[in-house]
Symmetry: C2
Subunit: 222 residues, 2 copies
């Protein structure tokens, strides 16, 4: 059980506060607007209305005792930066802050924020990739430089085993999961399928590799 403060309960902040609570942690949610505070009063441990740029108010709410503070203020960049400075001065060790422009992100980093996130941009990248190609159903980039794309099984793969298809030697991609509809309406996912797995029509393949390798496969699937 860890203790978190989430400051700014807009769409992103409210979702952070509720998800952390569902994962079993203690969350104090803070917002200057009473309606934003009331909306979460019954879901999270503590919801407090205060102006987070006011250091006395932060201390009164016990924010100096949390392990991690999440700052999710977008429209008012000045408030976002002031709040981060106040949190550092009262001694909060780990601060995660949302940025809404690249320069906002760079200033947050200079202030020593542990992690800067761009929620809208990161989701747009994920969605744009999955729309940009007829074949990609879902797409996620990892910080480590690899991506995962989920594609419909190409016709040429149907009826053959993974051993026969030699996906890694031929495309450099690793098949990490196969998703298929099962009779009666459900869906079944086979994680890390074995070499004897046979690909069927309608299968969805989750493939892991570099961005360039995924684009090459995409060209082949066209």
């Amino acid at each position: 059980k860890r203790q978190f403060a989430v400051i700014g309960l807009g769409r992103f902040g409210a979702a952070m506060a509720t998800t952390l609570t569902t994962l079993g942690h203690e969350v104090v949610g803070i917002d200057a607007r009473d309606d934003a505070v009331q909306a979460l009063a019954d879901t999270i441990e503590q919801a407090v209305q205060l102006d987070a740029t006011d250091v006395k108010a932060l201390r009164a709410a016990g924010v100096q005792n949390v392990e991690v503070a999440v700052v999710s203020i977008g429209e008012n960049i000045e408030a976002s930066l002031l709040v981060v400075m106040q949190l550092r001065e009262i001694g909060v060790k780990a601060i995660v802050a949302k940025a809404v422009t690249p320069i906002h992100g760079r200033i947050l980093e200079k202030l020593g924020v542990t992690r800067v996130v761009f929620p809208e941009r990161e989701m747009a990248i994920r969605l744009a990739h999955s729309l940009a190609s007829r074949n990609v159903l879902d797409y996620v980039e990892f910080s480590a430089g690899f991506s995962i794309a989920e594609v419909p099984a190409p016709e040429a793969f149907v009826g053959r085993t993974l051993r026969q298809l030699e996906i890694r030697p031929r495309f450099g991609l690793t098949l990490i999961a196969v998703r298929r509809q099962v009779p009666g309406g459900g869906e079944e996912t086979t994680v890390a399928p074995g070499a004897d797995e046979v690909i069927r029509t309608g299968d969805r393949l989750a493939l892991l590799g570099s961005q360039a390798q995924i684009e090459k496969l995409d060209d082949l699937l066209r």
Copy 2:
């Protein structure tokens, strides 16, 4: 090359328009605000100021010819719904729309939208998981029911090969990549490492499995 319309050029819409353009597609960006249109005029194929609830204006901009339309309007839910209806009536086949509340999402689905996304919520889930545990560096949930968590290599793994560690039989998880710092400051990612790979101190392991399996490993790492 596909043709897209992105309606609503706030943070999410603007990031969608620019990412689709970078991936090589033709994008017409639409917004009622002139400053939002001007901000993208030099980046995307076409940026047009109009009220997207006005069907004559949509036709004049040629929106009926696009393959996919993305509607990214949040504050004004009525406009989001009206725009989706107009797009369907002028015959746009695939519509992707951002929702900002669950009920907004349900109405969009009733209107026959191809895909509903909640950018803030989906990013909050990803971030909350990676913050909720000291051991998880990054975390992504896939629609297929599996997740990927990146964790620091546990002390007990260091100096041993994957064959010796038997990660899959013991934890049910599949190690899909190892990331490590290399001398001289860079970073190297080994995707789908072989059984003889030796884990070193400071390695970061990307593990694939169900949410329950990842949480079990997390308990072991504590």
